[in-house]
């Protein structure tokens, strides 16, 4: 499956989450996922614990957890906001994290309540050099 969104269009947190912000009816909606690098490093993801729609997320705070065979890792929100949608099919279809981490592998969508966090995020090229 080809992603519609290219990683160059995303912003990345040092903790390996990405966000793609669009304007929807005057609201800033951020789609959040984890990078291909994170998926590879986790390897063998077997479970994902997601927040509920309506939950509040805070910048650099955990909004969910991902379980590999070996260990539990937190998912950190790159921004402050409120969850407006979760990728409900993802927990039963975790292989899309490998096949399409920047498209079908999205995790949650949040309505940003503050976009200050965005300035601290990395462009793809800077993120890539952090990972290398």
């Amino acid at each position: 499956m080809e992603s519609q969104v290219k990683p160059e269009e995303l912003l990345f947190a040092e903790s390996h989450e990405w966000i793609h912000v669009t304007d929807v009816d005057g609201e800033k909606i951020g789609t959040i996922g984890i990078s291909a690098h994170a998926v590879e490093a986790l390897s063998d993801v077997v479970y994902m614990e997601l927040p509920e729609v309506g939950a509040t997320v805070e910048r650099e705070q955990s909004f969910g957890e991902v379980e590999s065979v070996k260990a539990t890792s937190d998912l950190f929100s790159p921004v402050d906001g409120e969850v407006v949608e979760i990728n409900a099919t993802l927990p039963d279809n975790l292989e899309v994290l490998n096949s399409d981490p920047y498209g079908a592998g999205w995790i949650i969508k949040v309505k940003l309540t503050d976009d200050q966090g965005l300035a601290k995020l990395l462009e793809y090229s800077a993120y890539e050099s952090q990972c290398s």
Binding site: D44, V69, P91
Partner: protein, 387 residues
């Protein structure tokens, strides 16, 4: 043995791992491959074909001296004295309080007839030899423990030969066939938990029908200098039959499915041997050993927590340290947990209060503040199909 605690020890196969995609981690002071590609795939290939594991980090102690078997017996929960050459026994090592210092394999094998300066021991060392394989993290502690118990003037000697040798586990339904094609000895000719000295790929090795995966297979101990050559040949043969090299993470999920305890998790100096349920490895009848009275006392009282298996509902794996509850009452904690690749459900081991340890008991596991329904089940979770 490294005295500098920050120094990391490399196995004779570390270079091979690094050059072949091994994801290296520090495990008990050793640079070890936790995985090469996918843990789940490495798990399945071991169950279905063959997994090849570098377990050179395990400590290998050789014991020499007259009546050495009798002496070792006094430090083991399992009878060692009088065990015929050729046999290998799983045992616990306990302190005076019956608390577990380590779990080990005690080998009593015939020496091979070559001249000295080869590995393993030759007839120059005696007709048979004893070797104890200990956990990497307990190697220094156990060496000190054994040495401190050698009676003055007994002539008993411990030789730690870990770093001059390598240990390779070849596990799975196709494991023995691969080794048989390369060795002077077919592992299938060895009974389970026996071993012999044989030539593999023209090099002397200790071959044993042992393992830590719940599969049939064997383990090889050989000179460090010839280990990489043999390893790469076995890896190639394994790949040709749908198997391959496997890392420590798969070894952990395999042993957990097989219900086997891991030191630092199900076994520790805070746990009395009687609690483990490893009754086959504890023999207090007609013999004495260090810790025997304390173990008998704990068994008699039956109030210590008991090791159990748990199967959880849902898909979320629970981890070591997760509390186990019944009606919001804390009844114990998990010691290991994962999503079982074979059963495709979360499994765990835990120590629970004895009154809740019966198979079928419904409990709850607290995973990061959320409770998940679980049931006490019989160990092991997985048993290989009998051929």
């Amino acid at each position: 043995m490294p005295t500098d605690k920050t120094a990391i020890t490399h196995t004779p196969l570390s270079d091979w791992h690094e050059n072949n995609g091994g994801r290296m981690v520090d495990f008990a002071g050793w640079s070890m491959p936790v995985q090469y590609q996918s843990v789940i795939q490495e798990h399945h290939q071991t169950r279905n074909s063959v997994g090849v594991f570098d377990v050179s980090h395990m400590g290998r102690f050789f014991f020499y001296g007259t009546n050495v078997g009798q002496w070792i017996d006094g430090l083991m929960t399992r009878r060692i004295a009088g065990v015929d050459a050729g046999k290998i026994r799983y045992s616990l090592v306990t302190n005076e309080d019956g608390m577990i210092l380590d779990d080990v394999l005690v080998y009593h094998l015939d020496c091979h007839p070559e001249d000295a300066d080869t590995f393993p021991p030759t007839e120059a060392d005696g007709k048979s030899f004893y070797m104890v394989v200990v956990n990497a993290g307990n190697r220094e502690k156990l060496a000190n423990w054994f040495r401190s118990h050698i009676p003055d003037g007994s002539g008993i000697r411990l030789d730690d030969r870990t770093e001059e040798s390598a240990m390779i586990a070849v596990q799975g339904p196709k494991a023995n066939g691969i080794i048989a094609s390369m060795a002077t000895l077919d592992p299938e000719s060895l009974a389970y938990y026996t071993g012999a000295v044989a030539k593999i790929d023209d090099q002397w090795a200790i071959v044993s029908r042992t393992g830590y995966t719940g599969e049939d297979g064997c383990e090889l101990i050989l000179n460090a200098s010839v280990a990489e050559s043999l390893w790469s040949k076995i890896a190639e043969e394994a790949q040709a039959v749908g198997g391959g090299v496997s890392g420590l993470a798969a070894r952990d999920t395999l042993r957990l499915e097989a219900g086997m305890p891991l030191y630092g998790h199900e076994l520790s100096e805070q746990i009395n041997a009687a609690s483990t349920g490893l009754n086959f490895a504890i023999n207090t009848k007609g013999r004495t050993f260090c810790g025997d009275l304390a173990i008998a006392k704990s068994k008699e009282a039956a109030t210590d927590p008991v090791r159990v298996g748990l199967e959880l509902e849902g898909r979320r794996p629970a981890r070591e340290g997760c509390p186990v509850l019944v009606d919001q009452m804390h009844i114990g904690e998990l010691t290991s947990g994962t999503l079982s690749p074979t059963l495709e459900k979360p499994i765990a081991m835990a120590y629970l209060s004895p009154e809740f340890s019966t198979v079928g008991t419904k409990v709850e596991v607290d995973i990061r503040g959320k409770t998940h329904a679980a049931t006490v089940v019989a160990l092991p979770f997985y048993q290989r199909p009998k051929s």
